[in-house]
């Protein structure tokens, strides 16, 4: 039988506010346990939540960027359950009336553009962390993360493969970073997702029973976990079994999902409006203000790059994957004053390669757009060859020096003086009579050998065009 996979994602993006969603405590990552939890975060008796306006601002930015309805009135609700890292015994979230309503996002997967509907996005507070190691059989609680603002972004079950799910997640990841509402740091858990996965016979309208895979914190894990889960469900169904609705955890070590809790034992969260917080009202004027401040979004930027720089769709989408990369590219182009394709090749090639190797972010690059532009200028004006440029690039990467200084100091300037090149050519032809004979008797491939010898003799500084121009007539005699 042919099976179709159905996937919906719930993405949790930690909002990049300085303080928590309902208290003034800092949200900075990595502090000593329980030093960033104030009376409100600890859930002491008598304390009350006060909504962080910046978190609302960020949620609205996201909503506008996905073309969603922003609720004029939304409501915070209490989600009740007991857990030691949940200090109040309830999480403040949004249930019936979320701040961001229906929106959508276009993704590209398998060379196809696809529109994914986003059901809603709502504000909520994160819980603390339970630490099960290092306490001799007891558990430790760290409440630093308790009260950190999250935007939970819920998609419709619109994705049909793990690749689509990953493309969607990457797109959201790119978007929240463009909007500067989330740092996107997946290792620190600032961006994570739950995947709802089901399968159904191809052509069937009704959805199959789904399993929810919790807490996936890398794109790779999303892909692997979904693929594993799809295989598991298909195997189960084909061997006559049924899928149970349950929550599963993905274990990256064994590349398997295993059940966490089933629906039967799931909590009744007893949601109800939080009486400590008034309904959140958003004025139309505020929306206009936020809309005016929205940056150019990834899709808009990608389209502009295609138009303005005559780039291919693929190049433009790679270069606009992050705002920092796009800014870097544009700075390089403007420094160089054109040559958009050359810039694209260098940014996506040598620069991206070097960054990857060192596991650096483009913002951390030792060579900024101005420096790279300066280097590329010297290729364009033929001061150096592309090959020498790579050598200069490596030197710039190490020292942070400008291209011109390196070219000067190391004497890497290209030899374009035909007299000088001619002398070298003559010497090489004289030194290689056997190869000359072979060439002249029809072994054309030996041209490369002679070019190589000339370049070697000039340490690569001879202008390759000039070498070819002078060498061929001499070889032919």
């Amino acid at each position: 039988m042919q099976w179709e996979t159905v996937i919906g994602l719930e993405i949790h993006a930690q909002l990049a506010t300085k303080s928590k969603i309902f208290s003034g405590a800092s949200t900075a990552y990595g502090a000593i346990a329980n030093t960033q939890a104030c009376a409100v975060d600890l859930g002491l008796p008598g304390v009350l939540p006060v909504l962080n306006q910046e978190a609302v601002h960020m949620a609205v930015k996201f909503g506008l960027a996905i073309d969603a309805e922003i609720a004029p009135v939304s409501v915070f609700a209490r989600k009740n359950y007991f857990y030691p890292d949940l200090p109040k015994g309830y999480q403040i979230s949004q249930f019936e009336l979320p701040v961001v309503g229906c929106g959508h996002l276009d993704i590209v997967a398998n060379d196809q553009v696809k529109r994914v509907a986003i059901t809603r996005a709502h504000l909520e507070e994160d819980a603390g962390k339970s630490l099960h190691e290092d306490f001799q059989g007891l558990s430790g609680i760290d409440l630093n993360r308790a009260g950190t603002p999250l935007l939970e972004i819920v998609s419709e079950p619109d994705m049909r493969s793990a690749e689509e799910a990953v493309a969607y997640m990457r797109k959201i990841h790119s978007l929240v970073r463009y909007l500067e509402i989330c740092d996107g740091n997946m290792q620190e858990g600032s961006f994570r997702c739950d995947a709802n996965v089901s399968v159904r016979p191809k052509g069937q309208k009704e959805f199959g029973t789904r399993a929810e895979i919790k807490n996936l914190n890398s794109f790779r894990f999303v892909e692997k976990a979904i693929n594993h889960e799809v295989d598991r469900q298909i195997d189960l169904l084909e061997s006559g079994g049924t899928v149970v609705q349950e929550t599963r955890l993905y274990d990256s070590n064994s590349d398997q999902t295993r059940p966490m809790r089933s629906k039967e034992e799931s909590n009744d969260y007893r949601y109800f409006p939080d009486p400590d917080l008034l309904p959140l009202e958003i004025e139309p004027g505020f929306l206009v203000e936020v809309r005016d401040q929205l940056p150019e979004l990834p899709d808009q930027k990608c389209d502009r790059f295609i138009q303005q720089y005559a780039l291919t769709d693929d190049d433009a989408s790679v270069l606009t994957a992050t705002r920092e990369m796009a800014d870097y590219y544009e700075l390089t182009v403007s420094t160089l004053g054109g040559e958009a394709k050359l810039c694209a090749n260098w940014v996506m090639g040598d620069l991206a390669g070097a960054l990857n190797k060192m596991n650096l972010d483009v913002k951390q690059s030792p060579i900024d757009g101005l420096l790279l532009g300066g280097l590329l200028k010297r290729i364009v004006d033929k001061t150096i060859s592309g090959k020498i440029a790579k050598q200069v690039f490596d030197e710039m990467w190490q020292t942070g020096a400008a291209a011109d200084k390196i070219i000067e100091d190391k004497g890497l300037k290209q030899i374009t003086d035909s007299g000088a090149i001619e002398q070298i050519i003559d010497r090489i032809i004289a030194d290689n009579p056997v190869q000359l004979e072979q060439y002249r008797s029809g072994k054309d491939k030996l041209l490369g050998y002679f070019v190589g010898q000339v370049m070697k003799a000039t340490q690569g500084k001879a202008n390759p065009g000039e070498v070819n121009k002078l060498l061929i007539p001499k070889l032919k005699g």
């Binding site: 859930g43 015994g89 007893r270």
Partner: protein, 484 residues
Amino acid sequence: MYNKTIAEISAGLQKRDFSSEEITQAYLSRIKQHDEQLNCFISITEEFALAAAKNADQRLAKGESGGLIGVPIAHKDIFCTRDVKTSCASKMLDNFYAPYDATVVEQMNQAGCVMLGKLNMDEFAMGSSNETSFYGPVRNPWDQGCVPGGSSGGSAAAVSARLIPAATGTDTGGSIRQPAAFCGVTGLKPTYGRVSRYGMIAFASSLDQGGPLTRTAQDAAIMLQAMAGFDTRDSTSVDHPVDDYVSTLNRSLDGLKIGLPKEYFDDRLDTDIRRCVDEAIHEFTKLGAHVREVSLPNINLSVPVYYVVASAECSANLSRFDGVRYGYRCENPFDLDDLYSRSRGEAFGAEVKRRILMGTYALSTGYYDAYYLKAQKVRRLISEDFRQVFADVDILAAPTAPSTAFPIGAKTNDPISMYLSDIYTIAVNLAGIPAVSLPVGCVNNKPVGMQLIGNFFSEERLLNAAHQYQSVTDWHMRLPQGFE
């Protein structure tokens, strides 16, 4: 020395008739003399009080004036006080010391009040008789075999017995007004949002409101002046200007339109209480007020609505008491569920458990619409009833409670009958409007209270009316026997 109002104490302090330290000592010794019997106090903070009194005397010596500088008071043990135990009258918090002051406590400290201690109450403010306290019941000074009402029973009894001139309390369904009525004192429940709830341990967040219990309306005005105001730490507090409650006390009541809701005066009302209330209303007409009958058609639904809404909210509010971070923890829990169930099972009293269970039930899947949602709808109808009558009249007058103080133990095994003792007070909380209860008579030597109910932020008018009534009557001056 002890039989003084705030206004009298303040005048005496300003004239140097006595120092704050002296009057503080006087009240402390009176507490020592009587509180073993009455059980009004959970904590007596003598050292804190004497230090605060000295500080107040210095402020007075510098020529500072302010109606509350150097005046002894005590807080209901629901308000968090830094470094002083805040128990909420529960075993759960018997070991709890808050690292911060509630906004109300902070405000009273700034105003110069001297805190003598923390007052007994029903556990987590759940009760109408002060019998659910972990620290035992408070006795009514008028009849020590009777309850003082609740939940602010310690506050009302202490003011009534002149152990303190004034106290703070909280009112979720009548918890200031009903004990004020039972103990013959004046108790004001302000508009929801008028007084900050920050640091006031939550029972039912959408209903809870702090307010004063005092001997007179004038004192209530002085207290409210210090307590009222917008607090950025409480999202439900309202940024509305605070009126001058004191300077408007003497306005004439000529032409004041008083509505009498007929639902409060039907044949279920005790005839003796009715007589007292009627006499009080007659005094108001003599002061120039016009009286007319009005109707609040949905008011009879108040009690069921309240027990759904308040219980639902409390079931979540009390989840934080889990034995993990503070408060009571059972011994040697063998796993997490055991930690939760035994800590909560051992530390919460029966009434608190009953309300948590009721609330949990009302919010559960399959029951939410029928209970919680329905209750919220009816709540809006009740609010609407009030909105309509206030289009026609300025204030309402009604009995505060259906009976006078009842004997200790009389209703402990009958929760429904206990719940019905708040039948006249609850609607005001559901609507979020203010009301003041004042003593208007005695039946069998037990006080009777009448409440004046006003529209949002009409505390000034309510206190004005109450003060005018107290200017021509003396029920509020009477002392219970044995406490003269």
